[in-house]
Amino acid sequence: MSVTVASQVGAHLDELRAQQGRAALVGYLPVGFPTVPGSVDAVRTMVDAGVDVVELGMPYSDPVMDGPTIQRAADVALAGGTRVRDTIAAVEQVSGRGAPILVMTYWNLVLRYGVDAYARDLANAGGAGLITPDLIPDEAAQWLTSSDAYGLDRVFLVAPSSTRERLASTAAASRGFVYAASTMGVTGERATVGDRAEQLVADTRAAGAERVCVGVGVSTPEHAAQVASYADGVIVGSALVRTLLDAPDPTSGLDSLAGLTAALAAGVASVSR
């Protein structure tokens, strides 16, 4: 890469490690669930309760990497009329609270908006970059250019099935961190974190990745502590979304979201790196 661009998320992760000696907690919530303003409240609650990096999901009609929990939330968000521009606006409303905001999006939404225009508007809103579950670096030429131009992070995924060669090319194309899927499968809560996750983190580092965070199936404070012992960040999504899905009313949903976030943050902080 001929262009050197500083990584907002990378700097934050490095600072947590240097100053607090710990991994980061990355929390996912979708825009528009239960409503657009409700999702902004939820993200603020999550940040105030201890999330270090926000993964803000753009709801999509065909989310092939997501399990039932996130699908349900996305369905509600889309039925409520959530638009792509609501995501940009939400980024603006939740940034500046000390937690960098990454948008997690399926690629057609960005293609349709225009890759360069999306990068420009996300950067202007204070966003840190994108997590792209259905975009591999091989197909990302335009995004590599636009993310360089606007100083955005680009988080690509690796999986237990990734070859050494692909770990290297994905690590080289990523900025911020590499997202390691703990297991072969879609997002969703699981009883245990995949036993291939630790090896995948080691392999991804050996292939050149500066930072590796682990997601998919990470659900409990115990999982968070376990993953925090070997990864640079712990990514939790479905378990957080479920606190809102299961809540009888919005206020108790935010309470239970704050409670789980704090417990996950304590799990992450319980092990030093």
Binding site: D62, V64, P68, Y113, I136, D138, A141, S161, S169
Partner: protein, 432 residues
């Protein structure tokens, strides 16, 4: 190859086309195609790509597939001239039907399914998954799984399982498990999403037997190759019957596999016009259609970039057609490319035109076509008006991709043939 589907790929693909069109290899067809899938699937796609190209150069693979086609599928399928139908197309026009309806399981789908199932045996995988809308591809996949002793799971939208109860029973008789998909719009597109989710989780033992020329590389190229026998046979049969090439080839286009299959042998014959007919539903202006070329724009769905029905934000729009097999919001990337380079022309055919052509073929030739294929027949009737400008005795080759047994309830309801409440009720646009 090692996942470098696009290694070193330039930002912009050249539109200039060199070399024969018929053997054009993926992952890109001009600006279309590619691999827009989770990284978790790339290793499996590479494995499939490698296994496919190895099999292609192995005479034993070709011989085994040819034996199955001869002894099991019933190939070559006949070519039938239909003069009484042709009288409805235009004076002096000759129409030939390629009879994929006479294949085992009732459509062209078996060509691809047997090819992929043989590959699965070679790769040592033990489990097949597939998506299905009307049930035709699901039935074909369940058939191949039974024949080759593979476990088979078919994903089908919950709405479709209710409407296609008899095809669900058929798949179960063949030993397959049918999983009703209860998320999203509960139709074909959501069945594909669920199949992709299953594949991500079980890719080490499982092959996703995709049913058409869509999806990530190598599916568009590979499925086309398994179907190109349709056009190759038809070309040879026409040479025997009339000693020349047709003036035009017509096929219906849902995902586009039967059309790619019959087009392929004629792609490099510049004098042969190629027409794909997509489902115009209630009319392109109504918004209730599956006309991706007339009513869609380029975008990514299910792993490849092609023409797509999508809203302003890029969310997939629901499609509509009286024919479940054409009711899909995207189309194979090679068709998108042939459209953009002007090699093939794509036109919408309305539900009404298709059902009228369905009726005409039944009455004039004693052949009940699939409603999908009736779109190609209606297309031929549209072409009749311009065919006389092509030559003195224009010849139209139409792919009759499937038979209409599955569509009898829909057709009976459409033509008001059922007065009493039927035992199994069909809503409009449903196929029992």
């Amino acid at each position: 190859m090692t996942g470098g589907a696009a290694a070193g790929r330039p930002d912009v693909h050249p539109q200039a086309v060199s070399g024969p069109l018929a053997s054009h290899a993926g992952p890109y067809f001009g600006d279309f195609g590619g691999r827009f899938v989770p990284e978790a699937l790339i290793a499996a796609l590479d494995e499939l790509d490698t296994a496919y190209h190895k099999a292609q150069s192995d005479p034993a693979f070709g011989a085994e597939l040819a034996r199955l086609h001869r002894t099991y599928t019933g190939r070559p399928s006949p070519l039938t001239e239909v003069p009484r139908f042709a009288a409805h197309v235009g004076e002096g026009v000759r129409v030939f039907l390629k009879r994929e309806d006479l294949n085992h399981t009732g459509s062209h789908k078996i060509n691809n399914v047997l090819g992929q199932a043989l590959l699965v045996k070679r790769m040592g995988k033990t489990r097949l998954i597939a998506e299905t809308g009307a049930g035709q591809h699901g039935v074909a996949t369940a058939t191949a799984a039974a024949l080759m002793d593979l476990e088979c799971v078919v994903y089908m939208g919950e709405e479709d399982t209710r409407r296609q109860a008899l095809n669900v029973a058929r798949m179960e008789l063949l030993g397959a498990t049918v999983v009703p998909v209860q998320v999203g719009t509960r139709t074909l597109k959501d069945a594909i999403n669920e199949a992709l989710r299953d594949w991500v989780a079980n890719v080490e033992t499982t092959h996703y037997l995709l049913g058409t020329v869509t999806g990530p590389h190598p599916f568009p190229e590979m499925v086309r190759d398994f179907h190109k026998i349709i056009g190759e046979e038809a070309k040879a049969q026409l040479a025997t019957e009339i000693g020349r090439l047709p003036d035009a080839v017509a096929a219906c286009v849902g995902g586009g596999s039967n059309a790619m299959g019959i087009f392929n042998a004629f792609l490099d014959e510049p004098d042969v016009r190629l027409f794909g007919f997509e489902a115009g539903g209630l009319g392109v202006s109504s918004g209730k259609h599956s006309a991706r070329f007339s009513g869609g724009e380029p975008g990514v769905l299910h792993g490849s970039r092609s023409y797509l029905l999508q809203d302003e934000d890029g969310q997939t729009l629901p499609s509509h057609s009286v024919s479940a097999g054409l009711d899909y919001p995207s189309v194979g990337p090679e068709h998108a490319w042939l459209h953009d380079i002007g090699r093939a022309e794509y036109r919408p055919v309305s539900d009404h035109e298709a059902m009228e052509a369905f009726r005409v073929l039944c009455r004039t030739e004693g052949i009940i076509p699939a409603i999908e294929s009736a779109h190609a027949l209606a297309g031929a009737i549209q072409l009749g008006r311009e065919a006389r400008e092509w030559s003195d005795e224009p010849v139209l080759l139409v792919n009759l991709s499937g038979r209409g047994d599955k569509d009898v309830a829909t057709a009976a309801a459409w033509f008001d043939l059922i007065e009493d409440e039927p035992v199994v009720k069909a809503d409009e646009g449903e196929q029992l």
